[in-house]
Assembly symmetry: C2
């Protein structure tokens, strides 16, 4: 069985892209008619996917945005995941889970067993035994991205605290993740601070372990895909393992065009992202 | 409108208990027949609830354990929450969420808007703006428990690291939570380490802020309700604000009796917990 990292590399090589399309449904921004939210959300993303599937290298449905519409929203998530898998795209379920061992085990069953995602994002606050049940699935070709340095302003509150041993909390988290590593384990590192991204990427590269990075925060959060790509290139050369994610700047690109052609606008946004990354 | 803290106190006074009944459905342990998982899980907990509702002071459905059964499991969660609310019990949805601002906002809509929980558990790793959208709901009578010191062994990995300023990470988290405080904000502190529980409780008591504690980890995780209650009594006197949670030791108490009378066994387990706490 191919490992998750191999799936990432194969997809990037096939499509000539390391872009990840993030899916954050906000029903008031979805100009699609339908008899319910499930139908409207599923149709919106499936149409965009049909146009961009061979130009991206992963999708990242954000659990929160689907679940805010209840069972209807989760049914839409199921449909969107199925559509992405049909296009052979890795599906990263952005869920940021993390609980005591038995609860994390139940979450891992939900993520991989019920929703059939290929990878999941998890939070490290509760430590090794909260992450281990997810990592178990790496042996079955699944991936796990541990939050290391996130893209939001509040990341500074805990992640940037200085430890007695001289490290920042996020570098200590990076060290733990490298320690917990199995093939398929990666890290979430925000695009909004490229200095820290570079420190983390250097550390992982030096660890000698294949550590796929999931880099959100370009587009509406203000990170630059070009700067991120430059950092990755400097450290890794032309790696196909990492993913740079853009969400609403793709989905809702049409809002800035004055037209309701959301598929065309999303496709242009993906082209723009790919050319900024300049693979 | 009553605040969440007032709801906690009122319920504890009415029922003479600060016990919280945690719900972690594992279908293979549920000796109830039914045509699907939803029916079996909902029936099991509703029956136990009918017997113990006036002896407990909150319920804590664990999202992971319901969601591992997909939409069916989440429908059961909805039914169980409705049953608890009918009995006027505060519902703490144990979800440990935390994401960038917009995503946390979507999760807060899911938790409070869709599932109608009274309170939620959240993770602090992503900082203030990841917690703030939940705290916003405190103005509407909702509660938010931030993870401070969890009950699992892996808690040591990050939470117990020493900071340059001399504090442990979890005490720094406690300080942040006190700083972010509004009425309705509380903290999760595990029962498995009473020394740390005491340090945290003292700190919160000294802060002068009403900070309800949710204390899991008694029962199958090995914490002692008696010891926890002694710490609380020492610091707070006879407070009605905190909750000591027990999950599988109540739900699956019947397994140790050799009988299938899960309702009777659960009721005895609740009586035992209440008498250990000795309110």
């Amino acid at each position: 069985m191919a490992s998750y990292t191999e799936l990432l590399e194969k997809t990037a090589e096939r499509n000539g892209s390391i872009s990840c399309f993030g899916m954050d449904p906000a029903i008031e921004k979805i100009p699609v008619k339908g008899s319910n939210n499930c139908e409207r959300i599923a149709k919106f993303y499936s149409e965009i996917l049909a146009a961009v599937a061979d130009k991206i290298a992963a999708v990242k449905p954000n659990y929160a945005f689907f679940a805010q519409y209840g069972l209807d929203g989760l049914r839409a998530m199921e449909a969107v995941i199925a559509a992405a898998k049909k296009k052979k795209l890795p599906v990263i379920l952005d869920a940021k889970r993390g609980d005591i061992g038995k609860s994390s085990e139940a979450y891992s069953k939900e993520v991989f067993g019920i929703w059939k995602a290929d990878a999941v994002t998890v939070s490290p606050y509760m430590g090794m035994d909260s992450v281990a049940p997810f990592i178990q699935w790496c042996g079955k070709g699944k991936g796990v991205y541990v939050l290391v340095r996130t893209s939001n302003p509040g990341a500074a509150d805990l992640q940037q605290l200085q430890l007695k041993n001289g490290k920042d909390v996020f570098m200590e988290t990076a060290a733990k993740v490298a320690e917990w590593h199995k093939d398929g384990v990666g890290a979430v590192v925000g695009a909004t601070n490229t200095t820290e991204l570079e420190r983390i990427a250097k550390f992982f590269a030096a660890s000698g372990k294949r550590m796929p990075l999931l880099i959100p925060g370009v587009g509406s959060q203000g990170g630059s895909a070009k700067d991120v790509a430059a950092v990755l290139r400097k450290i890794y050369g032309n790696t196909m393992m990492h993913r740079i994610n853009s969400s609403s700047a793709i989905s809702y690109a049409y809002e800035k065009t004055g037209s309701s052609d959301y598929v065309g606008a999303a496709e242009k946004a993906v082209d723009g992202l790919n050319s900024e990354i300049g693979l």
